[in-house]
C-alpha cells in the first residue's frame, strides 16, 4: 500500500475492497475475485482509482469478463474512471486462493487445489498427487485427464463413490 496515501484515500481503498466482494468468476460463480487472489493492489489518489489485477491461467477467457465486471461494479458505486491494470509478475499461483474460497469450491463439487503447492512433474507417468473426492472425501481417486472443462481444472473420478469430479489444479 502506498505510504503517502492520506486517510480519506485509505478509507476509499477499504470501501472498494468491500464493493468488489460481489465480483465473481463467471465460470466458477462461487468464487469472488478476492477468493481467487486476482486483485493484487488497489491504488487511490483522490478521484483516481486503479485496480491492479493478475490473470489466473494465461489463456483464461474469463479474465476479460472479470476485468469488465470490476469496471462496471466500480462505476455502479460512483467510481466512473476506474482503471484496471494487468500485471503478469509475480505469476499468479493457487497459493493465493483464500481458505474460504477453497471451502466454497469443495461445497460446489470441485476439489480445491492441494494445500501443498506441487508443480506439474514433467516426467511421463510420474506418480500423481492424491486428490480428495469432494463428494465422499475418499482419497481413493484416479485421474481421467489432466485437462478439464476449463483451463484451471483436471478431470478425476472417485473409485469409491464412482462420481466424476473436477479438480482445480495447482498452478
Amino acid at each position: 500500500m502506498n505510504l503517502c496515501m492520506n486517510n480519506r484515500d485509505m478509507i476509499t481503498v477499504k470501501n472498494i475492497k468491500a464493493i468488489l466482494e460481489v465480483v465473481t468468476d463467471p465460470e466458477i460463480p462461487v468464487l469472488t475475485v478476492s477468493d481467487l487472489g486476482i486483485i493484487r493492489e488497489i491504488k487511490v489518489n483522490g478521484e483516481e482509482v486503479e485496480i491492479i489485477i493478475t490473470p489466473t491461467y494465461t489463456g483464461c477467457p474469463a479474465m476479460d469478463m472479470i476485468a469488465m465486471n470490476i469496471r462496471l461494479t466500480l462505476a455502479e458505486h460512483g467510481y466512473k474512471n476506474g482503471k484496471i491494470t494487468t500485471v503478469l509478475s509475480p505469476a499468479w499461483t493457487t497459493d493465493w486462493m483464500s481458505e474460504a474460497g477453497k471451502a466454497k469450491l469443495k461445497t460446489y463439487g470441485i476439489a480445491p487445489p492441494n494445500p501443498k503447492q506441487v508443480v506439474c512433474d514433467t516426467k511421463h507417468f510420474a506418480e500423481q498427487e492424491s486428490i480428495q473426492c469432494p463428494h465422499c472425501n475418499s482419497y481413493h481417486t484416479r485421474l481421467i485427464s489432466q485437462f478439464g472443462s476449463t483451463a484451471c481444472k483436471a478431470l478425476y473420478q472417485c473409485n469409491d463413490c464412482r462420481e466424476p469430479f473436477d479438480y482445480f489444479k495447482c498452478h
Partner: protein
Amino acid sequence: MDKLDRSYKGAACIKSGHAINFINSNPTIDLHKMTPLTNYILHLADNALILAQRNAEWCGHGPVLEQDIAITNISLDLLGQARNLYQYAAKVNGNDATEDSLAYLRSEREYLNCLLVEQPNGDWAQTILRQFFFSVYQALLFEVLQHNRDEQLAAIAAKSLKEVRYHLRWSSEWVIRLGDGTTESHDRMLQAIDMLWPYTGELFMLAEYESTLLKDGISVELPALKVAWTKKINEVWAEATLPVSQNTFMQSGGKNGTHTEYMGYILTDLQYMQRVYPNCDW
C-alpha cells in the same frame, strides 16, 4: 548449403526490406523499422499462435472427448501466451500496432514462426509428435527466458512455463502410448517422425534478430538447448520403443518469413473475419 542459403535470403529480405514491399498490407507495422526485439517477440508469439490455430482444428474432432478437450485446452494456453506476447510486441513497436493488428493483419512473409508449428495435423500421431517436439523445446526455452534481463519477457515465460509443463507431460505420455501401443499406432508414429523430424533443426538455429539480441543478453543461446532437448526426446522415445531418426537434413526459413505451402491456408482461415469485415469486434 541450400538450407543456409534459404534462411539467409529470408533474413536479407527482412533486413533490407526489398522484395517484401508489396506484401506489407498492414499500415501499423513497418517491417523496415522493426527492431530485433520486436522481431523476436513476434517470433515467440507467432509460434504460439500458429500452433494454437492448428490444435484448435481438432475442436469437435478429437479421437475421444477427453482428448478433444485436452488438445483444445493446450490450444487455449498457447493462444493466451500469444496474446501476452503480441500485447508486448505492440507496445515495443508503438506506431498504433495492437495485439489484433499483429495477429490478424500481417501477411505470410511477415510471420516469423518456425516451420514445425505450421505442419498439418495429419493423424493423431502427427499432432502428438508435433506438440511433443514443441513442448520439450518450449519448456527448455522458458526455463532460461524466465530469468531474462527483459522483465516482461521473463514474466511471460515464468507464467507460461507453469502450463507448458502440463503440455510436456501430456504429449510425452501420448508418444509412449502410441509408440509402445499396437503395430498400427507404432507405424503411425514412425510415419510422423519421418514427416516432422526435418523441421526440428530450425528450433535451434539463431535468426539474425536472435544473434543480435544475444549480445545484449536478451535472446536465448538456442544451440545450447539442443543437447537437453535431444536427451529428453531420446528418453521418451526409448520408453516408446521408437528409433532415433537417422535423417540429418533440416528445413529452415520460417523464422525469417519463408514458410511452407501450408502457411497461407492457415492464415486464410485465421484472418478471414478481419479481412472480410475490417475492424469487426464482438
